[in-house]
Symmetry: C2
Subunit: 422 residues, 2 copies
């Protein structure tokens, strides 16, 4: 498959088979889908040595290529990570099945009963980088939600993914489900991604998982709808009516509990009336963790020893122990700053004021808006979704953590008794 | 604005202003939005002579250009159509406001209360052709749902749209809402459409309304998410367990009540055990309306005087008094035919069998699935939405008739008491 035309043909043939499998899978009942998920855990345990051997091969090749250690970390599997993956499958099996849920039924004046049924989207393409656990997670979430999937993993994890995909297909076959419900694209060239992005007839939605450059490229090129996560420029706003202890704890936790996650705070906004009291307390705690602060001119008046923030700082996702700090005159200024400079991901207000909390919740245009809670809670597990396939920063279809419901939509159901339209 | 660069600049400046207006509009209460809608009806009545004069100018130019009569029909306004447009505005004002609806709140083990709030999408771009009533409908639906909009109407309706947009902006200003909440692009070149499609930073979703070629081009070129309607290849399936009278009435109504609508049946599927009884009854009724039938070989055995259907007929939206007819062996064959050849728009089964009805509802992957009802009911007014901005044949975000809810999505709301993540 060295020629582009053949890769396109291969991807489309795979996607067409996935579409047929979707029609069977969408009508499968939960018991059968759960049986397949549990069978996967058994096969992974039985074949753990095969998986780890394939992963060692990937690791050796990645090391030989000089991959950086963060990527190697993501690539590496061991008995513990396999156990975590199996736990994840069991959790997904235990979740309620969203497919077939019916609601909003109303009877119209002509006697038609009209409502909605929750249904899978169809064929979902997942394009991801070095984490082999995504292969299993994504396949399991798609399967449980009745979707067929096409998995295009990164070249670094090729051998690991191949073994995992084989076991997934074996579990499907052994439980009477179509093997083509889960498909690994066994080609890690750019052309295979391109072929997926250009196939709206066969693939209903693409979910990229990976670094910003991958996601941005996919969003720019795709002719298939994309559910994506771009930046995580999250804010905590310490309101005039904030409780000091909550403000300090939340602002500290939102920055320091992990630096590399998308729900980490990148900019702290503080009401001018509270800055002199709260910023020194926070600065001391941040200093203890080695967090570099970059402030607006008014912040520097309170904390004279920190760096001056440049315009670019307000628009930067550091993913590092760096925090931009800005003093604002009002809640309205904080909201305006967040809507302009944020990434519509997760933003939190610390306040005891009912009115300020309500105004913040209503006015901030982000996927998650919080009161008196750390932004770090923006996550499918913390929200009770059981699992997530990603976090959407898009405005349509689904915002924030995407669980099983985000992999479905609703069709209309019309129940009549012979009605015709006049 | 003859240079492309200037048109891009103009569209982006307009869209940036719309984004700012959206932030104000998204926080406006229903009373204020309804007041603006009702003020629009007053202004349209007061200025009806201006609107009709502008429309006469459009009609004269369109006639001079030799536009076909169907297009001229869509373009023409008169006192009656203005009254219908005002009635539509009043209906939208009377609908419940979806913005701010909160539900699904649950308390997590750590005490966080987590739920969802319904919010507008942001800035919606509407690209449409000759119908000036879309200017008012689209503006009203976007306004009520808290979205700013950018309207790019067709060149044929330019003068009509200009007067309508001026009155809309006047109503906004007089009721304290930002005028930039509704924007008409005063440039009807291809470049202005292109600039909208390439502006994901400013425009959150594009809704094209028009013929298939326009919609397909927009979907292919857009870097902004699109909610679209492509084909309406709708089916009625007469099941083995169909009631004869219902079958005949529904199949007759679904084809003949209007030929040019997207929810008109284009292919009739009949179970082999009922074909000999029902097809001759239907053929007689269709003949009375001048409907041309094109049948599969088995249909020709029952109705020897009709045309033979070619392969292309099963994939054709006639929008004309033509009907493809196919005899199938089973419900499963009917479902497979619909999923392969249909357009995922609207499909109906006629049956008295509970089990067959359930299987059809579950297995047919269409935006609207019906039992014992004419496909012609697939429409926002008939579904009780009050109004629709279009009908989606997409799989994500919203399927079928799109009303106010389809112009919104849900953000997460997290209510804490100082929680931090461990």
């Amino acid at each position: 498959m060295t020629h582009t035309i053949n890769i396109q043909e291969y991807v489309r043939t795979t996607a067409a088979a996935a579409k047929q499998a979707f029609y069977r899978l969408s009508a499968a009942d939960s018991a059968q889908k759960n049986a397949a998920l549990l069978r996967m855990t058994e096969l992974i345990r039985q074949h753990s040595s095969d998986i780890l051997a394939a992963n060692r091969l990937d690791m050796q090749q990645a090391e030989a290529k000089g991959l950086e250690s963060a990527l190697l970390d993501r690539l590496q599997l061991n008995e513990n990570t396999l156990q975590t993956m199996c736990d994840g499958l069991q959790q997904i099996a235990a979740l309620p099945d969203p497919v077939g849920e019916m609601d909003e039924f109303r009877t119209r004046p002509n006697g038609l009963q009209i409502g909605k049924m929750r249904v899978p989207l169809g064929v979902i393409g997942i394009i991801y980088e070095s984490r082999p656990n995504v292969t299993l997670d994504a396949a399991a979430l798609c399967l449980k939600s009745g979707n067929a999937c096409i998995l295009r993993g990164g070249s670094e994890a090729f051998n690991s993914n191949l073994v995992l995909a084989k076991l997934i297909k074996q579990a499907l076959a052994e439980t009477g489900l179509p093997e083509a419900a889960v498909n690994l694209i066994e080609n890690t060239s750019r052309e295979s991604v391109g072929a997926m992005l250009q196939s709206p007839e066969w693939i209903d939605v693409i979910i990229p998982r990976g670094g910003k450059s991958l996601v941005a490229r996919i969003a720019a090129e795709a002719r298939v709808p994309v559910i994506k996560h771009l930046d995580g420029i999250c804010h905590v706003y310490i309101d005039q009516a904030a409780d000091t202890e909550k403000a300090v704890n939340i602002a500290f936790n939102a920055k320091t509990s992990r630096y590399g996650t998308c729900n980490t705070m990148e900019t702290l906004l503080v009401h001018e009336k509270r800055a002199a009291e709260i910023l020194p307390l926070l600065a001391e705690k941040y200093a203890g963790k080695g967090v570099e602060l970059r402030g607006c001119p008014r912040t520097l008046a309170v904390l004279p020893n920190i760096q001056t923030a440049s315009d670019a700082d307000w628009d930067t996702e550091y993913l590092a122990p760096i925090l931009a700090v800005k003093i604002v005159d009002s809640l309205a200024e904080a909201v305006a700053h967040i809507n302009i400079h944020g990434s519509h991901h997760t933003d939190s207000i610390v306040t005891e004021s009912y009115t300020d909390a309500q105004q913040f919740l209503r006015s901030v245009d982000s996927a998650s808006v919080m009161v008196n809670a750390s932004t770090r809670f923006a996550d499918g597990f913390e929200y009770g979704l059981g699992a997530e396939i990603g976090i959407s920063t898009d405005k349509i279809h689904v915002r924030g953590p995407v669980g099983l419901h985000g992999l479905t939509s609703q069709k209309w159901v019309v129940l009549g008794n012979g009605q015709v339209r006049s």
